[in-house]
C-alpha cells in the first residue's frame, strides 16, 4: 500500500500521548490485544480481523490525500447560538467544551487536496465535535464545498460521520439539509462527480440529505447508516432489531450503496473511479493514470 506515512517525530503532542511504546489496546472486533503502534500504522484497522476503529479527521487526510497535503477553506467559520439554547447546560458552553476537546472550531473541515494526482474538494465530518451534528456552520461549509468545487471544476469527496441535526440550533439545523442539497443539486449540473464516503455512524438529517445522494456511495465495513437511530426504531415498533440492521452490508443488500470498501483500499478506489468519471479534470503533481 502506497499511502504516505508520517514520521512519528512529526506527530503532535496529543497524538503522542496515546502512542507510547509498550501500550496495548483491545480490538473491538476480535478482542485481540494489539500494540497501539501497530494499530496506528494500519490506520486503526485490526490486522487480525479487519475491524475498522474510529480514525481522526487529520489521520483520514493522511490516509487519503497525496502526501497528506490539504489546503483548508473557511476555517474561520465558528458556531453562533441563534436560539440562545439551553437544556440545563447552555449551547455556548457545549460549543466551548467541544472546541477544547476536539481541537477544532466545528464539526466539518473542508478544503482542497489531491488523490493520486486528481485534484479534489475534500470535506470531512469531525465526529468528536458534538457527534458530527450538522448546524449552521456544517451546512454552510458543505454548501461552500459544492459551490467552490463547481467553480474550480474538481470532484467532491465528502466523508460522512454524523448523528444528524444539531438540535441546539433547532429549525435552522433542519434548514441546512435544504441548503446543502440545493448546492449539491447545482453541482450535479456541472457533471463532475460527488463521492459520498459513509463512515460509522451516518444517521438522521445528514443521511436524509446529501449523504446518500452521491454519484457513488461508498461505505466502510460495518458502518451504521440510517434515517432513524436504532433506539428510536426500537421504541417505535417495540421490538428488538435484527443483527446487522442498518449496517453497511444491510445497505448494500438493499441497494442503497454502491460498494463497501476497506479503509485501506479507499484511496485507490476513489482514484480509480475518478479516472473513469472525471479523467479530463485538473491533475496535480503525482502519479498519472
Amino acid at each position: 500500500m502506497d499511502w504516505p506515512k508520517k514520521n512519528p517525530s512529526e506527530l503532535d503532542a496529543s497524538e503522542k500521548k496515546s502512542f507510547g511504546k509498550g501500550v496495548f489496546r483491545k480490538c473491538d472486533g476480535c478482542s485481540a490485544t494489539l500494540p497501539v503502534e501497530a494499530l496506528h500504522a494500519s490506520f486503526e484497522v485490526c490486522p487480525e480481523c479487519g475491524q475498522h476503529h474510529k480514525l481522526s479527521a487529520p489521520r483520514w487526510r493522511d490516509l487519503l490525500l497525496d502526501d497528506g497535503r490539504f489546503e483548508e477553506w473557511d476555517a474561520h467559520l465558528a458556531p453562533a447560538d441563534p436560539l440562545n439554547f439551553s437544556d440545563g447546560k447552555s449551547y455556548r458552553d457545549r460549543i466551548a467544551s467541544a472546541q477544547k476537546s476536539s481541537h477544532t472550531k466545528e464539526a466539518m473541515v473542508i478544503g482542497r487536496g489531491a488523490i493520486e494526482g486528481h485534484a479534489v474538494a475534500y470535506g470531512a465530518f469531525v465526529f468528536s465535535f458534538m457527534g458530527g451534528s450538522m448546524g449552521s456552520v456544517v451546512g454552510e461549509k458543505i454548501t461552500r464545498l459544492f459551490e467552490r468545487a463547481s467553480s474550480e471544476r474538481i470532484p467532491v469527496i465528502l466523508l460522512q460521520a454524523s448523528g444528524g441535526a444539531r438540535m441546539q440550533e433547532g429549525i435552522l439545523s433542519l434548514m441546512q439539509m435544504a441548503k446543502t442539497v440545493s448546492a449539491l443539486e447545482r453541482f450535479r449540473a456541472t457533471k463532475i462527480p460527488f463521492f459520498s464516503v459513509l463512515l460509522h455512524p451516518t444517521t438522521g438529517g445528514v443521511a436524509a440529505s446529501f449523504a446518500l445522494l452521491g454519484d457513488v456511495n461508498i461505505a466502510e465495513p460495518n458502518a451504521l447508516i440510517g434515517f432513524a437511530g436504532p433506539r428510536v426504531i426500537e421504541q417505535t415498533i417495540r421490538q428488538k432489531l435484527p443483527e446487522g440492521f442498518q449496517r453497511s452490508e444491510f445497505l448494500l443488500t438493499h441497494g442503497m450503496i454502491d460498494r463497501i470498501v476497506s479503509r485501506l483500499d479507499m484511496r485507490r478506489e476513489l482514484a480509480m473511479m475518478m479516472s473513469h468519471l472525471s479523467p479530463k479534470l485538473e491533475r496535480v503533481s503525482g502519479p498519472q493514470a
Binding site: H76, L77, A78, P79, A80, P82, L83, F85, D87, G88, G135, S136, V137, G139, E140, T143, A165, M167, E169, G170, I171, L172, S173, L174, M175, Q176, M177, A178, K179, V181, S182, A183, L184, E185, R186, G204, G205, A207, A208, S209, F210, A211, L212, L213, I225, G226, F227, A228, V232, I233, T236, I237, L241, P242, F245, Q246, F250, H254, G255, M256
Partner: protein, 322 residues
C-alpha cells in the same frame, strides 16, 4: 366528527360555540327577520374573536404544539376540497407501493392547474392507522418526488401542505431507503423550474416535513409548528426525560412567530378565532389567499429564476460567526 377539546381551549370553545348557535338560530328565523338580532350577533362575533385572541395570546409553545396536533384540525384533504376543484388523486411511487400518509395529484386552484401534495392524517381510528398518522414511508416521499417531477415537466405550480410528526422510523422504512427518499425529495424540489408554495397546516416535523418544504414561499398557520425533532424526542435526547417536552418546545423556537423571526417561514397565516378547527371554511379561505398571493408574486419569474429564487431563499438560512 366528534369534537375534542383541550383543557386550555375550553373557554374559547364555549364562546365560539355560543356564537355559532346564535347564528344558526338567526338563519333559521329567516333572512332580515330581526335586524336587531343580526346587529347583536355581529357585535358578539367580534367580541368573541377579540376574546379568543386574547386568551390564545398567552398560549405556551407546548400548548401551540398541542393545537398543531389537534385531532379536529383540518387536514390536507379538507383544504383540497375547500379551495380546489377537479382534483385527480395520483397514486404510487412506481417502485414499491402507494403510501396513504402522503396524498397528491392534479387539481385546479383559482382556475389554474396545479400539482398538490400533502401529508394526510386519518380521522377515524381505522383511517389513522391506514394513513400511519401522517408519517410517510419511503414510498410516500418517492410519490411526492414523482409528482414534483411531473409538475416540472408540465410546467405546473406545486402547492404542498405540511402536516407530519416526521417520516416513519421503522424496519421497512430503513430497508427501502427512507434517507435517500427524503434527500431525493429535497433535491427534486430544489431543481424544479416551477413555483412551489408550502403551507405548514399542523405539525412540521423534521426531515419528513422538509420533503414537502423546499418551496419558494413557506407559510405557516398561526398555530402550526416546525421543528428539527419533536419536542418529546428533543427532551428525551437532551434532557434525558421526555416529560420535559414543554421545556424542549420552548427552547426549540418552533412556533409561528419564532419561525418568522428566523426567516424559516415567509408569512404567518391567521387562523379563525379558537384555531383552524373552529371554522374550516374561514381557515381554508385564509390559507388559499396566502397561496394565491404568493403565486402572484412569482408570476413574472421564469423557470431558471424560480429555481434561483429558491436557492437564494435557503442559501442564507443559518447563523454563524464568520
Amino acid at each position: 366528527m366528534a369534537a375534542f377539546v383541550l383543557p386550555f381551549e375550553k373557554p374559547v370553545v364555549e364562546l365560539v360555540t355560543r356564537v355559532r348557535e346564535l347564528k344558526k338560530a338567526a338563519i333559521e328565523s329567516g333572512p332580515g327577520s330581526d335586524r336587531a338580532l343580526e346587529h347583536e350577533l355581529k357585535r358578539l362575533e367580534e367580541k368573541t374573536g377579540r376574546l379568543a385572541r386574547e386568551l390564545f395570546a398567552t398560549l405556551t409553545p407546548w400548548q401551540k404544539v398541542q393545537l398543531s396536533r389537534h385531532p379536529n384540525r383540518p387536514y390536507t384533504l379538507d383544504y383540497i376540497e375547500t379551495m380546489m376543484t377537479d382534483f385527480v388523486e395520483l397514486h404510487g411511487d412506481r417502485r414499491f407501493g402507494d403510501d396513504p400518509a402522503i396524498i397528491g395529484g392534479l387539481a385546479r386552484f383559482r382556475g389554474k392547474s396545479v400539482v398538490v401534495v400533502g401529508h394526510q392524517k386519518g380521522r377515524s381510528t381505522k383511517e389513522k392507522v391506514t394513513r400511519n398518522f401522517g408519517q410517510a414511508h419511503p414510498e410516500g416521499n418517492r410519490k411526492a418526488c414523482r409528482l414534483y417531477e411531473i409538475a416540472d415537466r408540465f410546467g405546473l405550480p406545486v402547492i404542498t401542505f405540511v402536516d407530519t410528526q416526521g417520516a416513519y422510523p421503522g424496519i421497512g422504512a430503513e430497508e427501502r431507503g427512507q434517507s435517500e427518499a427524503i434527500g431525493a425529495c429535497i433535491a427534486a424540489m430544489a431543481r424544479a423550474r416551477v413555483p412551489i408554495i408550502a403551507t405548514i397546516i399542523g405539525e412540521g416535523g423534521s426531515g419528513g416535513a422538509l420533503a414537502l418544504g423546499v418551496a419558494n414561499r413557506v407559510h405557516v398557520q398561526e398555530y402550526g409548528t416546525y421543528s428539527v425533532i419533536s419536542p418529546e424526542g428533543c427532551a428525551s435526547i437532551l434532557w434525558k426525560d421526555n416529560s420535559k417536552a414543554d421545556e424542549a418546545a420552548a427552547s426549540m423556537k418552533m412556533t409561528a412567530p419564532d419561525l418568522l423571526r428566523l426567516n424559516v417561514v415567509d408569512k404567518i397565516i391567521e387562523e379563525p378565532a379558537g384555531g383552524a378547527h373552529q371554522d374550516v371554511a374561514v381557515a381554508s379561505a385564509l390559507v388559499e389567499a396566502g397561496i394565491a398571493s404568493a403565486l402572484r408574486d412569482l408570476e413574472t419569474l421564469n423557470g431558471e429564476e424560480l429555481a434561483a429564487d429558491r436557492y437564494t431563499r435557503f442559501r442564507k438560512l443559518g447563523a454563524f460567526v464568520a
